[in-house]
Structure formats: structure tokens, C-alpha cells
């Protein structure tokens, strides 16, 4: 399968899942905050293809795309959104706490900057293990404003840990643009380079470019080159939290939104593939297949039982099973 088709496939898959969430959110059955990545799927799709199941990844409150791109189990994710016992966190976590350790996706957390140091520890574990794996931390543009980003980047550079930051710069932190948050004229990747990371930047709406730069960073880390950061500029289409469009709020202009929507990463790549009939047919078949998988996952989630109420009160502590004693 060509790289273009693979990237397109992952973006179509992520988009289909999140659009299905948006369509059904009003039913009031997915009762948790929901942060969608619609419009900014390219970095996730590219990272998903560059990483292996033996690598580690952690992400943020806006983590559906990363989980799905890394091959996280779809049914377990949708069930988690519905608070069902079949969910990836047995209903304890919801949309902001997705996990599938079978593919190295170790968790998403709900505090900006919080999962960054956890990624640092996974990188430390890899270094101690002596493997060529990579620990990938997905962050947004606001996470680099936290102390944990600086602290983590500083130590990763000092100890030359196999850590990769994939920074999706979507220009807004909730409704706040960059201007009040970061100095004019200072880019995230240049700041990261000054701390001691090897850095790249690219067009976050061009999945192939995303894959080029993430691929280079991953190769560099695997060959012992130390920590890297890739900044990819992109744009969130819908509201910060929830299923709707929010251009009526006035924090960003309709023209700005439309200019980014015209550069839809899926459409960009599809145009590049051209009008070849074979490809068209393949894509149509793939879209139909994805729609079926998504429908199945939602049906299974709706059918699944809730956790018994007693599960709220278990698992405060892990027991000694499997421990060295």
C-alpha cells in the first residue's frame, strides 16, 4: 500500500469516528467532556505510521486521534465514551483517559502538560532497557507554556533520552490565541532547539510533510540522537470542547476558519492522489468499511453493560500479584 493511501486511510478513519461522536453527542449518552481533533488529523496519522507497537506514546485531553492512529482498540474507546465496563478504562476515565497498552499507547491525561513528564519516564525506561524504542509525547501549543515542558525537555536533552515531542500547534488554547501566551516572533520549535532538542517544523495539514519530519525525528532518536521536537501547524475546526462549530463566539474569524477548512488535510491528500479510477474505487470501499466498523463500535458500546456500581470503590490500590517478593 502506498504511503499516501495509508495516511489517507488513517485520517479518514479518525475523521469518521469523530464525526460519528459529534453526531451522537446530543443524545446525552456520552456523558463526558469531548475534545475533537476534526481538521487536525494529519500529525496523528503520520505519527501513528512512524511509531511501532513497541514504542510508547502518551497524549492529552484531545487524544482520540492519537489513540486511533496508533491502533488503539476502537470498540474499547467508544465504550469508554459511553462509560461502559467494556471501555478501555472500564468507565473510570472517559474521553480524556484513553489507554491501549497492547499498542504502546500508555494513556491520555486531562491536565495540560501533565502527561509530558510521564513520557519522560517512559523514555528513561527505554534507555534503561537498552532498546531502540521511542517515547512519543503528543502536545499542543499551550503545553509548551507549562513548567513541565521545560523541565522535561531540559532533562531529556541532558540525559539524551529517546523522547519525541509531536507538537500540534493549532493556534488556540481554548479560545485564547497565541498573542497573549507566547512572545511574538518566537516559534515553538526554535525555543525547543535552544533548550537542546533536535527540531523540525512542518505543515500540519499536509500529512506527507508530517510523515517526512516525524519520520526523520524517529530515525534520529532510534539511532541514539537524543530527544526531538516536531512542530506541526494545524487548525481545530470545532469548538474546544464539544461537538459543535463555534465561529459565532467571535474569538476567531470566519475567514480564518474557512481558509483552514479549504486546506482540509484529507482533501489535500486526496487531490494529490488524482482521479485514478482504481484509487477512487478503493477509497470508496474503504470509507464504507470504516463506516461499518464505526457503526459496529457504537452499537456494541450502547449494548454493553455499565460497570457495576461497586466498581467505583475498587482498585484504590494494586495488589502484590506479579511483584518481586
Amino acid at each position: 500500500m502506498s504511503r499516501q493511501i495509508e495516511l489517507l486511510g488513517r485520517m479518514i478513519y479518525i475523521r469518521a469516528v469523530e464525526e460519528a461522536i459529534a453526531e451522537r453527542y446530543a443524545e446525552q449518552e456520552m456523558r463526558c467532556p469531548m475534545h475533537l481533533s476534526i481538521g487536525q488529523e494529519a500529525p496523528a496519522a503520520a505519527a501513528g505510521l512512524c511509531l511501532r507497537d513497541t514504542d510508547y506514546a502518551v497524549s492529552t485531553h484531545r487524544g482520540h486521534a492519537h489513540y486511533l492512529a496508533r491502533g488503539g482498540d476502537l470498540k474499547a474507546m467508544i465504550a469508554e465514551l459511553y462509560g461502559k465496563v467494556t471501555g478501555c478504562a472500564r468507565g473510570r476515565g472517559g474521553s480524556m483517559h484513553l489507554v491501549d497498552s497492547s499498542v504502546g499507547f500508555m494513556g491520555t491525561t486531562a491536565i495540560v502538560g501533565n502527561s509530558i513528564p510521564v513520557g519522560l519516564g517512559l523514555a528513561k525506561a527505554i534507555q534503561l532497557d537498552g532498546s531502540d524504542a521511542v517515547a512519543c509525547v503528543f502536545v499542543g501549543d499551550a503545553a509548551v507554556e507549562t513548567g513541565s515542558f521545560y523541565e522535561t525537555a531540559n532533562f531529556a536533552a541532558t540525559a539524551r533520552l529517546p523522547l519525541l515531542f509531536v507538537c500540534e500547534n493549532n493556534l488556540y488554547s481554548v479560545y485564547t490565541p497565541m498573542a497573549p501566551r507566547q512572545p511574538a516572533g518566537r516559534s515553538i520549535h526554535e525555543m525547543a532547539a535552544a533548550i537542546g532538542l533536535r527540531t523540525w517544523h512542518g505543515d500540519g495539514n499536509d500529512a506527507e510533510e508530517c510523515m517526512d519530519v516525524i519520520g526523520e525525528a524517529v530515525s534520529s532518536i532510534r539511532s541514539g540522537g537524543g530527544p526531538c521536537l516536531v512542530e506541526l501547524t494545524t487548525y481545530r475546526w470545532r469548538e474546544h470542547c464539544g461537538p459543535n462549530y463555534d465561529n459565532d463566539l467571535g474569538y476567531r474569524t470566519v475567514q480564518e476558519f474557512e481558509s483552514w477548512r479549504d486546506r482540509d488535510p484529507i482533501a489535500v491528500l486526496e487531490r494529490r492522489l488524482g482521479d485514478d479510477t482504481m484509487t477512487r474505487t478503493q477509497l470508496a470501499a474503504y470509507r464504507a468499511w470504516v463506516a461499518e466498523r464505526v457503526a459496529e463500535a457504537f452499537a456494541a458500546a450502547k449494548d454493553a453493560p455499565f460497570p457495576p456500581p461497586g466498581e467505583a470503590y475498587t482498585d484504590e490500590y494494586a495488589d502484590h500479584l506479579g511483584q518481586t517478593r
Binding site: P117, L122, L128, S148, T152, F155, D315
Partner: protein, 349 residues
């Protein structure tokens, strides 16, 4: 059994743990420097190498999160802060990551890690180098919170904490580091969540932790000489609390004095009083009493700290009042400055 100090027992536990399991890591500010965290980390780097034993940047939050990530990756990190106060910038990683990870991801990923925190006192440690905030940590489900008071327990509880598959906050009082005691050799374990009855008695139950257990033993001896029999319980773990042992004791004595090394409001001593009142109300012969620090920040000047910390004298007086007895405290009066733990301490830290 070997006679050793509390601090040496901590060091011994670290050596035993790291020799037993190559997954055990040790790191912290100053861990490899010539002072080696008051000697508690001495020899670790030489014995186990710089990959497993390492100093760190002054980045407590990220390095606490690193411990969480390393635990997810199968390691057992032991982090150390020379003062508890230094850990406060890492509350996000302690509360939102370490404490929550196992529960919030469905009970699948244990976080086996220890954060050692040393509580300072005296010699002008002052407002931000002497806080005992175990109640903060005890408030958070998912954490275990341990405060040893003897060298034996220091070793046994630390080894148990390192091999516990949960995040453990381990508080060492700086004034206990030079106390001496018999310590078993090898892989000595003391279970978490179990209090110890360090003195048996029938009239009053004294429930303490850390340095206050040492004060309670002294007070108990004086009171016994005057016909008042105290049962001294050392909590050892303040999350989870061993209610069964406290309940059994108060059921016997009907009287409770809860001792703490911290301020009283929302303290562990407050929790002990509340729990005993709920569980043993009909057995109580007197209103429970707390002996805690004053409800203020801790000052620096020796003039201001002179009467600041409660001691065995305060315990004797509280118990005597509770028993409507008169007990002299002359033999407990100590004319040494109250801002050092003993002659061995010459400052500065």
C-alpha cells in the same frame, strides 16, 4: 540484629532493595553528592551504577512524573527530597498522575514508586523547610503515606514501600535520623497499613506518628511512674489508617490523645479524633484531645521556636488533666536549646 541509626537503616534498606531487584532506581537532588542526603544514599551509585542512581536537575515536577513513567515501564523508582517542602511543586504529578493512574485507567497499570521526603525542624528551618504535610497526601486516594518512628521500622517500612505496587509517600523526620535502635539484617519487611503498639496500657490511648511517638514513649514512662498507664500506638501508616488497632485500644482505655507533628486544622490527628468519636463514642470516658503544632506557620528565630513544638511535657500535662491527676514533669525538663535534636546536630540542615 545490628545496632544502627535511623538514617543508616534507610541506607541499608536502599542497598538491600537495589541488590534484590535491578528494577529499583534511586534519584533526587544531591543523592550522589558528598553529603548523600544525610548519609541515607551513601554508596548507592558506587554499588549500583550511574544508570540506576542519579542526581537530577531542580525540576521536581517533571522528575516526579518521570518516576510515574518509569513505573509504567516496569521500574521501581525511589525519589528523595531533602525537605518535604521541595516536593510541593510536584503536586500535579503526585496527585493527578501517581495517585490516579492505576484507578483511572481501569486498574491495569500499577505505579510502584516511593517518594522519600524529609521533614525538617529547628535550627531556623523556618516557614518553608519544616512542613509536615502528610495530611495533604493522606487525603488523596491511591497514595499510601508512611511515617516511621524507629530504625527498625524505617528499614522494614521502606523495603515494603519500595516493593509495594503503589505510590508511597515516605516521610522521615530529620530529628529521627540519628536515633539508635536494633535493626534486623537483610530483607526485613514491616507491613504497610499496620499500626504498632509500642507501649501497652489501660488508662489512656496515645496515638502518634514519627517524632511524636518518641515523645509519647517518654511521657508514657513518666506517667507510669505516677500510676497512669498509657497505651502508645505508633500509626506508622496514615493512609490507610489501621482503625482496628486504634479501636481496640480505645475500647479498652476509653481515653484518646492524638499526637501530630503538624498543625491541627484538617490534620491526621483531627482524623484520628473524628474516627474514634464515630467508632467508639459510647466507650469514651473523656473528650478526645489533640496535641499538635500551633496553628501557624513555623518561625525561624530560636526565640520564636522555643515554646513552639509540643513535647513529652505537653503530653504528660494533657493526660494528667484528663485523669484529674497531678504529675510532675521535672524529670522531662531539658535545658538544651529546643531547636536541635541532640548534641550530634551542629547545623546547618
Amino acid at each position: 540484629m545490628t545496632q544502627m541509626t535511623f538514617g543508616a537503616a534507610i541506607n541499608d534498606a536502599m542497598h538491600v532493595a537495589m541488590a534484590a531487584d535491578p528494577k529499583v532506581l534511586a534519584f533526587g537532588l544531591g543523592i550522589c553528592d558528598p553529603k548523600a542526603i544525610f548519609g541515607t544514599t551513601a554508596g548507592l551509585k558506587e554499588a549500583f551504577g550511574k544508570e540506576r542512581v542519579f542526581d537530577m536537575p531542580v525540576s521536581e515536577n517533571a522528575l516526579t512524573g518521570m518516576a510515574v513513567g518509569a513505573a509504567i515501564g516496569g521500574y521501581k523508582p525511589v525519589m528523595v527530597h531533602q525537605r518535604l517542602d521541595f516536593s510541593l511543586v510536584s503536586m500535579d504529578q503526585i496527585v493527578n498522575s501517581a495517585a490516579k493512574w492505576f484507578y483511572m485507567f481501569g486498574g491495569r497499570t500499577p505505579i510502584s514508586m516511593v517518594i522519600r521526603m524529609i521533614v525538617g525542624r529547628g535550627w531556623g528551618q523556618g516557614p518553608t523547610h519544616s512542613q509536615a504535610l502528610h495530611a495533604w497526601f493522606a487525603h488523596v486516594p491511591g497514595l499510601k503515606v508512611v511515617l516511621p518512628s524507629s530504625p527498625d521500622d524505617a528499614k522494614g517500612l521502606l523495603l515494603e514501600s519500595i516493593f509495594d505496587p503503589n505510590p508511597v509517600i515516605f516521610l522521615e523526620h530529620r530529628w529521627l535520623h540519628n536515633t539508635l535502635g536494633e535493626v534486623p539484617e537483610g530483607d526485613h519487611r514491616v507491613p504497610l497499613g499496620k499500626a504498632a503498639t509500642v507501649m501497652e496500657g489501660a488508662d489512656v490511648t496515645l496515638v502518634g506518628t514519627s517524632l511524636m511517638t518518641a515523645e509519647a514513649r517518654q511521657a508514657g514512662r513518666v506517667l507510669a511512674a505516677h500510676g497512669i498507664s498509657c497505651e502508645v500506638i505508633d500509626l506508622r501508616t496514615v493512609r490507610p489508617i489501621d482503625w482496628a488497632q486504634i479501636e481496640a485500644s480505645v475500647a479498652k482505655t476509653g481515653r484518646l490523645v492524638a499526637l501530630d507533628i503538624a498543625q491541627p486544622t484538617a490534620s491526621v490527628a483531627a482524623e484520628i479524633v473524628a474516627g474514634v468519636t464515630e467508632r467508639c463514642f459510647s466507650r469514651l470516658k473523656a473528650a478526645p484531645v489533640r496535641i499538635c503544632l500551633p496553628d501557624h506557620a513555623v518561625p525561624t528565630s530560636q526565640a520564636l521556636t522555643a515554646g513552639f513544638y509540643p513535647s513529652a511535657v505537653d503530653i504528660v500535662n494533657a493526660v494528667a488533666a484528663m485523669m484529674a491527676a497531678k504529675v510532675p514533669t521535672d524529670e522531662l525538663v531539658d535545658d538544651r536549646p529546643r531547636d536541635v535534636p541532640g548534641d550530634w546536630f551542629r547545623g546547618p540542615f
